[in-house]
Symmetry: C2
Subunit: 336 residues, 2 copies
DNA sequence: ATACTAAATGTAACCGATTTCATTATGAGT
DNA sequence: ACTCATAATGAAATCGGTTACATTTAGTAT
């Protein structure tokens, strides 16, 4: 393996000059630079990146902590991160936690040991104080999740207002008995979507019926099960706002099996706008999370920190959008 | 930052001994070892991993080259890789190529520069000779794709036989006019699935009608469009084997819109067994690719290479399975 | 030409662990 | 007690760039 000193020798310059040609070309006279570059080319010299990382204690690598890569939402955010990282010469190290806090803690060591230059969390289950301590010392960004009372840079969407939009859409369609199937209520996202649902009802002077709120776990099956319960009510709902798309498919399936037509007898709105919602029959009206953009933005915020640029806003809320398809009854033709 | 020499000093031993305690404990007397360990604990010493990587020119990191992380099949394989990697103390660096060959080539440099200890490709678009050259020097495994005439360790499923199984299933259900919507035919996977389809027809003495073979691109829309074409035929098919699940949903959608019931008037079989196929209405009969296992196996093969273990088989073909749901008409109850 | 400043290059220390080789301690066997 | 093999430890070189600082070269102004 040809190394920098070999190049230096052949070019009749010092290692330092070769190094400068590579990392700080303006500091070298054009003649010298060209000469060195030619030799580099000729000898097919490739710098030893590990030596560089070691010396500079910088790796041009960031760590992305994901609860579960196999989840579409996360893999799309990851896509956005990867994209922005690549554009800026950074590499992405993957950390799948399988939702285990311990693994979050484990990966913290990568930061502390400077194996990576920064970290993007797609879920923060760890202790707030620990995280606060970490973010004081290292570049960290949180996205797709948030924590109250932690001044960590965050990229999210406004789940409350989105849920409100979704629910209001159903209200505007003339529904007054609207059920909500929530996500796991220990998650802030789920609580926020529930909050938005509540707000929409109240602001529109609608009665608020606790029996219409059922907790799911974001799975198809839970949507199916909770909907089955809802249909058994004396006064079943005429519309359902499901906290994600996958549960919405369960809702629709249960409704159909019960002889209800969607959207004829039951209007459904989901959340996330995963591919599935466009493909499903009927197409599911849903709130589109700008997942790719979230990832991209998160990476940009991280870069600002890494480069020591003073950040203005720390909390970034991205716009989301109501995508109207068939399941809510507002549109019987569109495909989306 | 406390370093190894600090520990050595405090423990009254040499750096070498501290290093041995960490990397090769058996080589140190128990007394010394315990003493050093205690000091390490006490001083909260963390070895500088970058220095280690540099010195050993080994990173305990592998590179995974993915055409598109946002694709479920790939993200699941990635899940398997990540799992096996983690279990063996390896980290996963993500390389999304967006299907661009140039990016595959770019990432080759990571290997050559020893920034990673090995590479798993989920798609090989690069030149065969280049790849052959690379795999002679570095640990490489290919999965989810394969190349003819390259002796690279590969983990795949048998697309030909799986497609045959899928098609035969439709034949067994009494169909004789079976269409096939293929994937992009420049991909080996697509060609293989087509081959299997052909074999099934021939082996069962069925007429082989070219008009029933339509090329799609794995998207929902293409399934929809090709099915629309097929239904316009004088003698339309009574069954369709779609080269993936997403296109199968398009097929079903087109059929429904045309007043056909699935499976009543049209039987459909897909491929991949992505979550969607279980959730869709009707549930889609499909071939299950053991994606997670493929990833796991690929990582294991890579580890063997990294550790210099002589590999027996180089080509690993994993078992796949026909998952029977509603869309083929064999089962009207199951949910899957 | 001279002095002085700025640009260009060189020298050498340095990052921190790993590992080879030499040296010393330990223990078994007679 | 003595020899010899083996285990345990230490000293020092090494991995290959980067960078602070010193030195030389070039350029400008007078």
């Amino acid at each position: 393996m040809v190394k920098m000193s070999d190049v230096a020798e052949k070019a009749n310059v010092s290692k330092a000059t070769v190094s400068r040609v590579l990392r700080n070309p303006e500091a070298v006279k054009k003649d010298t630079r060209d000469k060195v570059l030619a030799i580099i080319e000729q000898m097919n010299y490739q710098p030893n990146i590990l030596a560089r990382h070691f010396r500079r204690s910088q790796t041009n690598t960031i760590l992305v902590v994901v609860p579960n890569i196999m989840n579409t939402v996360f893999s799309h955010i990851l896509g956005g991160i990867e994209h922005a990282a690549g554009e800026n010469g950074y590499r992405v190290l993957l950390a799948n936690t399988n939702k285990q806090v311990e693994r979050e803690y484990e990966y913290l060591d990568h930061l502390k040991q400077r194996q990576v230059d920064g970290m993007i969390l797609l879920s923060a289950r760890m202790d707030k104080n620990v995280l606060t301590e970490v973010m004081k010392q290292f570049p960290v960004v949180l996205t797709a999740d948030y924590l109250e009372g932690v001044a960590i840079p965050t990229v999210t969407i406004d789940n409350v207002s989105s849920a409100r939009t979704a629910t209001e859409h159903l209200i505007n369609m003339g529904h007054s008995r609207i059920a909500h199937i929530t996500g796991p209520l220990h998650l802030l996202v789920s609580q926020d979507r529930l909050k938005g649902y509540r707000q929409a009802l109240l602001q529109n002077g609608l009665a608020f019926d606790n029996i219409l709120i059922q907790e799911g776990d974001f799975s198809h099956e839970s949507g199916y099960n909770q909907m089955t319960k809802l249909m058994a009510l004396e006064k079943p709902p005429t519309a359902v706002f499901s906290a994600n798309d996958e549960m919405a498919t369960g809702v629709i399936k249960a409704a159909k099996e019960n002889g209800l037509s969607v959207p004829g007898d039951l209007a459904v709105v989901g959340f996330d706008n995963i591919k599935l919602s466009a493909i499903y029959d009927p197409g599911i009206t849903t709130i589109a999370q700008p997942t790719f953009e979230m990832g991209k933005k998160a990476m940009e915020l991280l870069l600002e920190q890494i480069n020591g640029i003073e950040m203005g806003k720390r909390q970034h809320v991205l716009e989301n959008e109501l995508i109207i398809r068939e399941s809510c009854g507002a549109n019987f033709k569109k495909n989306g």
